[in-house]
Symmetry: D3
Subunit: 256 residues, 6 copies
């Protein structure tokens, strides 16, 4: 069991590596450090199935690189969990997705949870994602603030107001008992949203910020020596995989 | 309604474009022609999540090219349906996956169906796939013949014997009423398997060969003028998607 | 594989055999012909469980007759699919129901579908039908236009307006991504409804017209040589079945 | 609340009206009398979907007649529950099916239940029936004794041995905690089967005999003044239903 | 089979033993008598998980005492069914909960049912309860009248008005076809609620009063000689259980 | 965010407080301390529903005491999670159950998980528990080693052999990809079991030890400032709850 841990955060978009200062490392407790990367080729943000698909090769390359560099666990920092299954095939250190992890945590915390996503086009995508994790029955709703990812930072007040409005609908109309921020670009807004909800008379609903909670669970797994099942995610068989040498991190495009 | 139809088949692996002669075009009825392609970069076969992920960019490029070339519908010829969702975002002509289509057809034909796949490592992948299409409750089992994709053609007699053995287990032990060939590399073996089952006393179980049945449904959709919902698969928003110009089929990596 | 196909359409009500001219035969491609029949005894329309039950004996007789007359496949032209299971026991040629087929096709086309039925009393019947096909999780809603079957033809403008109103509710309030006409008496209105939806700002939702799409799938099955499982629908054992000689199509009321 | 009750039992086959002496009327408590009928036209036994379908018109006629004759409740005495939904539309007195009632009672008594049916061909039919009642998740298995209905009475010792063998498999291999006799032709064998199971070391599994338990529940509903919902089973609208005057119990084939 | 039956009703709260006169014994038919008890230690009413948990030891003591006193069946008279599973381990006579029984009866009577409970805090508790009985798919909604249990008797007119208002919402907005009174403190109001609904135009929805219907089913089980499965609810193994001698009804806190 | 954390472990049986030395505190990382308690009145071990029910009052008292003593989070150390819901109503610091937490973690790690419990009588109890957490679809099986809790320590070699045998069946026969130790009395055996499985040729299945992983998640929640939803677990309303002063931790048996 390592006395110190290194967690790596891959943000699966181009040009938007999370500044390490933005990561709430101190809250992870003593002995934990966090490194960050973005991807080379791929979409500038993730708002549809095409974006998710094109983010995967770069994400796999980043996960492989982090594992080779000695990370104790890796977090894919996007609520689409792009490449999560394939990344787990490539390594035996824990690889976590912010969507899978935060949905399971939300399911542990209360009766049903709602996800507050960015745009309407992702509502059914998130519904399908929750169902694929076996948590469809615990999902109260997915609601959107109607703000594209790349505009999230333009007006935080507007974003917070929209999150509050949709959060109130989720609680009052859809029966949500827990809220999950639906885009990792909303990092850091959980406390503000909770406060805003209290001002509107809703003081009993926790808000889950996906990246911090996933980092905590990643640290927990790394410390407890438990990782994903290699029976579910076996090492890929050797074969030609032309064009993806970077992903596989070797001179030949093969995985032993 | 066109009096003649062109269907395009993308086999999402490198170096294995289906020879057009292998496609049972005549059975599609008068007026239907079929074109075929493989992908440039990607895996030589698909046997894990990594292979599926790396097959996607090439598949999307092939679907886009086929649509631009005037195809009336496109079939992705692999039981992993790689890139199906994203491909549907890229075009409005019907794009069908052999897995989704053959599973729905199998569900229409009888109480429960089993899938006969290539290797054990794909069993849970196919279970998850069926569940993602909402058909988990109709799946009797997934069984594997234990033969990697690239070895399927080495000994057809051995393959047929293994399919028969697993098919009998599926029917007698798992309650399957319909069988689905679990790899499009098994193309053309449905009738032989059905005959072999009859010799073993099982004469009441249809065998679905995914590619032909999917081509028939593709022709049906193209002829009836119905395609996938653009509300589920909207046109991707314009944004930089560096490194994927070929996929998007334009000088800039943007989709309007 | 036959170069020409004959599909038979049974409309399971009295006095309402579909005029062959109403069937969009041309769209089925070259070499397909369609024959039609209604039933002798039974209800004038189908709007409740009693109607469905009383339509069955006549439907079974019509299916048997069509099979004896050499049809390549039979379609039961009613969104209740009356007699579908029993009819499949009586024959080995494909027998399709418009409800089962159009619901599976709708499920292939998008995230969730809604059915627009005739009267409120059929809403829960259609919900149960979708669930019985294993598609309950893909159903967004069933909505009714409040017009009895026998009045559907009285005022097509009113019917179309009601379909548009309920279709918009289904899309905007219930999350439908695909619409299915819920009564085969609405034959031919899919394109008009789609156009009306576009005029209301909804241009991304396909509308499935059950009879045409079912005929296409029936042709696809007949051409690909695949039919329903006789393990699910075995030939009925011989025994007295008094009063139903016509159904069984033989001098004695027995089935070998 | 009536001080005395009349329950009517319709056995939905020809020539096999239950002898009233076979009904365990005394166990129903003081003040309950039972009347019995079979159907005119229809199958001699029910072993497939065709039999079920052809049993419906006669069953509906019998239910209507019993209601007109003043019965307080009606039981359809067959584990296929033929005509249950339509019969409930025809009357407002409680109409119960032995399958629906005994499955719900079995679900109340323990973790999972198994059904012991007559022939293999009914296994999937019973699975679908349990699912249609929303109890699929409570069903451990359906097993068959391999004896056609009309042969059940030929050798009771053989029948009991077969029930014991399959019951033991259901308990030990399938996890059944409750057993349900799967054919009302097995009437009266519950205690004998329970005793035989005890002799084999299984003393903790109740056996539900469908007809008696359904009669008890029918009496309970009649006494408590609760019947089925007429919102689910509304009175059928008036319309021509040619050939089914007997079913509808009136000079014209209409229902107001 | 006993010619007379004694049913015992445990109301699992302190100081609120049901007056025997309040029990509709006459409707149970000739030969049935009912005895009643409350519990010693525990909550004054049940409105949260804490109340349910603290009601259990007293309820178990009361069930044990009733069984020792010769009751033929016991009903736990609370819609939380506190202690139902453990009580069934303690005895082999039928023990029924009003929630489990009335939900199964409601599921037999119509398409979907709604529960009208006392306070908002119980809505998700009742949803989870229905799901635990395998009936989540049959539940249309749980709605609350916003009146704490101990205030139910203060103003029956107000209670009835609130039940009517929520019942109408359940029927019109949630698709309920059957209503279940959600608290046994509403005993006797089913007929009044049904009448009030008729005055509002809803005449086709039965209202289930949990205690009477559960007493009827308890009598049915006792008379038919069927009880819960001792495989699901085995006799607890002997071991020290300090502090709970009263529950176990013996000088030592052990159960053989 | 506290720089140091105190986690409290309640073992909900009498006389078996976990020795703090047995808790793998060091692995929790710097700054975490663990305190332990057992319960006063209650069962000596938990092997049936009666045991679970009787463990609850003592568990609630222990949770309340730990919260008053300043614990940052509490873990209920039993795979029945006795009193989890009610305990969460009593406090706002995180309260975790080893069953709920380890099942969610197992679901995150692989396709399906199996639980290895102590005695056959708990198999269906654990199945129901998994279903109640919404994870029934992720459960491959529950298997038992046939050793009562109080005998677990008698022969560790025998226990390990039994765990290995059942674990192999779970992996090979039931399709488990992850194993969960089914009793917290098996604490510390995960690594030994994993090693034994490797010796049998199964090297790809992680084994989850419930207490350590739950402590890790408890620390994660406490550090991230997220706790259970007070909308799901509201503070109990004030009312008399006679006999349970200790549970409620106040001079009067009321909770404000």
């Amino acid at each position: 069991m390592p006395s110190s841990l290194t967690l790596h955060v891959v943000t699966p978009v181009t040009g938007m590596s999370l500044p390490p200062a933005a990561v709430p490392t101190a809250a992870l407790g003593p002995g934990v450090s966090v490194t960050c990367s973005a991807i080379g080729d791929g979409p500038a943000s993730i708002e549809c199935e095409l974006d998710q698909a094109l983010a995967v090769p770069g994400t796999l390359a980043a996960v492989s690189a982090a594992a080779r560099a000695g990370a104790d666990a890796v977090v894919i920092n996007c609520m689409g969990d792009p490449g999560l299954d394939a990344a787990r095939e490539l390594t035996s250190i824990p690889v976590l997705g912010t969507a899978q992890t935060s949905m399971h945590v939300a399911a542990m915390l209360g009766h049903r949870f709602s996800i507050l996503t960015v745009v309407d086009q992702l509502i059914h995508v998130d519904e399908a994602k929750a169902a694929s994790y076996g948590l469809g029955g615990r999902l109260a709703s997915v609601r959107s603030v109607g703000i594209p990812v790349l505009d999230l930072g333009a007006d935080t007040g507007h974003l917070l107001a929209a999150l509050t409005e949709q959060g109130l609908h989720a609680v009052r109309d859809d029966g949500a008992h827990v809220l999950v921020l639906g885009c990792t670009g909303m990092l850091g807004l959980a406390a503000d949203l909770a406060t805003a909800l209290v001002h509107q008379g809703v003081s009993d609903v926790p808000v889950v910020d996906p990246l911090p909670v996933t980092l905590h669970v990643a640290a927990a797994l790394a410390r407890s020596g438990v990782s994903h099942s290699k029976r579910t995610y076996p090492c890929p068989p050797a074969k030609p995989r032309s064009g993806y040498e970077a992903v596989l991190g070797a001179s030949s495009a093969r995985v032993a």
